[in-house]
């Protein structure tokens, strides 16, 4: 037995000195154990090791560990501390306090015990492991002691001394959607007029109307909203009226030939007459109340894609590039022809004060024309301004209702810029790249904003603060390019028509009643945005 142990010792002699001492301590332990155990377990073990017909696997590996930890040897191990107290550095009373440590460490130390460098602390560990780790944990003593210690340190109270109770059922939750934020803490005191309210702009349309057979043609103007709150829309060769107050739909007219189609619509200021430009180069005047055509005016050589009223003067822009002024009161309606554009005139707007006519064409020009004087035909054909800054077709034109000398224009796919012009000075005040084709512009006076309708690439409507042109909101929803945009007579809603054959109404500019009354006054003095004379 001794020989066997010593041979094991020989094999490890080349190891570090610490390692040797570690083993020596173990031998001391084993010696002391051997004294006690004498003829029992160890001898049996050695026998079983030496017998070749016995399974060898459980013999040499961690022999002493398994042996000492086995239950039949526990009594012996218990006695060892006293015997090996000259080696042991730790007191025999400690183990119960650190049972977790004792259970974890041995395998670790066993695994790295051939690593040559060890710090001196390891000696304590080694002696502890040899003397104490295998001491049986007294279940009664430690659990109660531990539990007490744990519960005091964890719970802050002794479980034996108190009960924790709470009223059954779930504690009440705050209402759905409620979010606690700093505001809740600090906005309590009513501070009137401290923060300027930012209004809520709904991201969804208030209404969606179907517009089947709508011509998806950028150059046409197929939507207009009258001062009597009637929305007119041209669907191929039909003109439909939608009464926004009642919700009634009426079919105003239908062109006789299927291949013809409506190209433009424009209400008079009063909203009782509708001008309709068609693909067969004529302009029809309709009395909406009686649903009766009043007259049909020819003169153009190509389709009439844009119309604008200035009291009794109706101006029309054609694909030929010509703009005609018509006096609708007289039989010989044609007053003037303006030959300023070389390509289709797709944008045409009289200023709210009736002094200027703005026109935009597929030739990328924006022109401003003076008012037509009755009887002086030559006067009106000389442009006040002609700007060529846009790099794309100019369809979007809007006059500022509260600053009559301000004109906004927007370019097509190759341009994508909104430009603000001062008509008095002839200068471009600001320009902004919108990254998207601009099909329509309108000023919304309620909050002094500019609204733009976009085609490629975003197909949306954007609300801009004027004059800073900072983005206020984006109205997304159309699935194709937005073709036209028009403001309701109360300026609270904007209607858009798009290539996805829908008309969407966005109630984005509602005002409180006080401001509304003020706004109405401005309107009565300044005239409507659409068509007015002064």
């Amino acid at each position: 037995m001794q020989q066997f142990l010593e041979s094991t010792n020989h094999s490890t002699r080349y190891k570090h000195l610490n390692c040797v001492t570690l083993f020596l301590t173990r031998f001391k332990l084993l010696h002391s154990e051997l004294d006690k155990m004498a003829q029992f377990g160890l001898e049996n073990d050695i026998h079983s090791i030496l017998k070749l017909d016995m399974p060898i696997t459980n013999a040499p590996v961690a022999r002493w560990q398994r042996k000492t930890s086995s239950s039949n040897n526990s009594g012996l191990s218990c006695l060892t501390p006293g015997k090996s107290s000259n080696v042991s550095l730790s007191s025999s009373k400690t183990p119960s306090k650190t049972p977790g440590k004792g259970k974890k460490t041995p395998s670790k130390v066993g695994a790295d015990r051939f690593i040559p460098t060890r710090n001196s602390n390891q000696m304590d560990v080694a002696s502890f492991l040899l003397t104490k780790e295998n001491e049986p944990v007294d279940p009664n003593n430690t659990t109660s002691e531990n539990q007490k210690a744990w519960s005091v340190s964890l719970n802050g109270f002794n479980i034996e001394d108190a009960k924790i109770l709470h009223l059954g059922g779930k504690p009440l939750n705050a209402p759905e959607g409620y979010r606690n934020n700093l505001k809740v803490l600090y906005s309590q005191v009513a501070t009137p007029a401290s923060v300027k309210k930012t209004r809520y702009i709904s991201s969804t349309p208030e209404r969606i109307l179907d517009a089947p057979d709508l011509r998806n043609d950028f150059y046409l103007n197929l939507l207009d909203w009258s001062s009597r709150n009637v929305l007119a829309v041209a669907l191929h060769n039909n003109v439909y009226l939608w009464d926004a107050t009642q919700g009634d739909i009426t079919l105003l007219m239908k062109m006789d030939r299927e291949e013809d189609y409506i190209c433009s619509l424009s209400w008079t200021k009063e909203g009782s007459y509708l001008a309709v430009g068609t693909s067969d180069s004529t302009i029809q005047l309709w009395d909406v109340d009686n649903q009766k055509r009043l007259r049909s005016m020819g003169g153009h050589t190509a389709r009439v894609g844009s119309l604008s009223w200035n009291d009794h003067i109706l101006s029309s822009g054609s694909r030929s590039g010509n703009i005609h002024h018509h006096d609708v009161r007289v039989a010989n309606h044609h007053i003037t022809t303006i030959n300023g554009h070389s390509q289709e005139v797709c944008g045409l707007k009289w200023s709210p004060d009736g002094r200027y006519l703005a026109s935009g064409g597929n030739d990328n020009l924006v022109c401003v024309w003076p008012r037509v004087q009755d009887g002086s035909a030559s006067n009106g054909s000389q442009a006040v301004h002609c700007w060529s800054e846009h790099q794309g077709a100019v369809k979007a034109l809007a006059w500022c209702p509260w600053q009559p000398n301000i004109l906004a224009s927007g370019g097509g796919t190759s341009d994508r810029h909104i430009r603000i012009w001062n008509v008095n000075s002839g200068s471009c005040i600001t320009s902004l790249d919108t990254q998207s084709q601009i099909s329509s512009l309108v000023f919304a006076p309620n909050y002094k904003e500019l609204v733009s309708a976009h085609g490629y690439a975003h197909n949306n409507v954007v609300i801009w603060k004027y004059p800073t042109l900072t983005r206020v909101a984006e109205l997304n929803g159309h699935e194709d390019r937005v073709l036209n945009l028009t403001l309701s007579p109360d300026c609270s809603t904007v209607a858009t028509v798009a290539g996805d054959e829908t008309i969407r109404l966005w109630k984005s500019f509602e005002v409180d009643p006080v401001k509304k009354a003020k706004e109405r006054m401005v309107k009565s003095t300044g005239g409507t945005f659409h068509h007015s004379i002064r």
Partner: protein, 202 residues
């Protein structure tokens, strides 16, 4: 007020402490934004403006707890009241308001009133509630929707009343603790403390 000047009995002390808890819990719920401010109304008590909930369900819940607590206060069997604020989604305990209650059990035997005026007690209570209000300046913002629960630590031999259940202590794993003022009615002594999740441990 002449009667109160004579001193305070166990019954009166119970009333005062229960009232403190009612206002205290309401203040915490309001100040910590557990419920929206619209659910609270201003009342004047302890010579200060306090907020009480107007929500009938919440009110009912709090009344139930406080009235039960009152019983225990009277029996001197309650040790602590803890208001636990947990995150609704993760159920993690974010804040723990602990009120340790020390009961003078000798008051149960001798009914002789103690020498302490109601005004002094209320002054003490007021400063505790002021401190609760002031804690919002240093407590971390509760960014997620939260729920609360009330735990009552009672004596071990107490019979658990109907609808009440035993619960865990709901300790915050890594917490910072701030002791608040205490007050005493000379029968019940209430020590206040708030523990909250340490910001760097989040």
């Amino acid at each position: 007020m002449t009667s109160t000047l004579k001193g305070i009995t166990l019954k009166g002390s119970t009333e005062l402490v229960a009232e403190f808890f009612s206002f205290g819990i309401n203040s915490i719920l309001y100040q910590r934004g557990i419920y929206p401010p619209e659910m609270f109304t201003r009342v004047t008590h302890y010579d200060m403006s306090l907020l009480l909930t107007t929500d009938s369900k919440l009110k009912n819940y709090l009344t139930n707890v406080v009235s039960q607590l009152k019983e225990w206060l009277f029996e001197c069997t309650v040790q602590k009241l803890v208001l636990v604020i947990t995150c609704l989604e993760t159920n993690e305990v974010l804040e723990r308001w602990q009120f340790d209650i020390e009961c003078d059990k000798s008051a149960k035997e001798s009914s002789a009133p103690r020498e302490k005026s109601i005004k002094t007690i209320q002054d003490e209570i007021r400063s505790v509630i002021r401190q609760i209000t002031a804690t919002v300046t240093f407590l971390p913002l509760l960014e997620t929707p939260c729920a609360f629960d009330l735990l009552v630590y009672t004596d071990k031999d107490l019979v658990v009343p109907e609808k009440w259940e035993e619960s865990g202590p709901q300790i915050i794993s890594q917490s910072e603790e701030v002791r608040l003022r205490s007050f005493t009615t000379s029968i019940h002594k209430v020590n206040s403390m708030v523990a909250y999740k340490r910001a760097d441990s989040v």
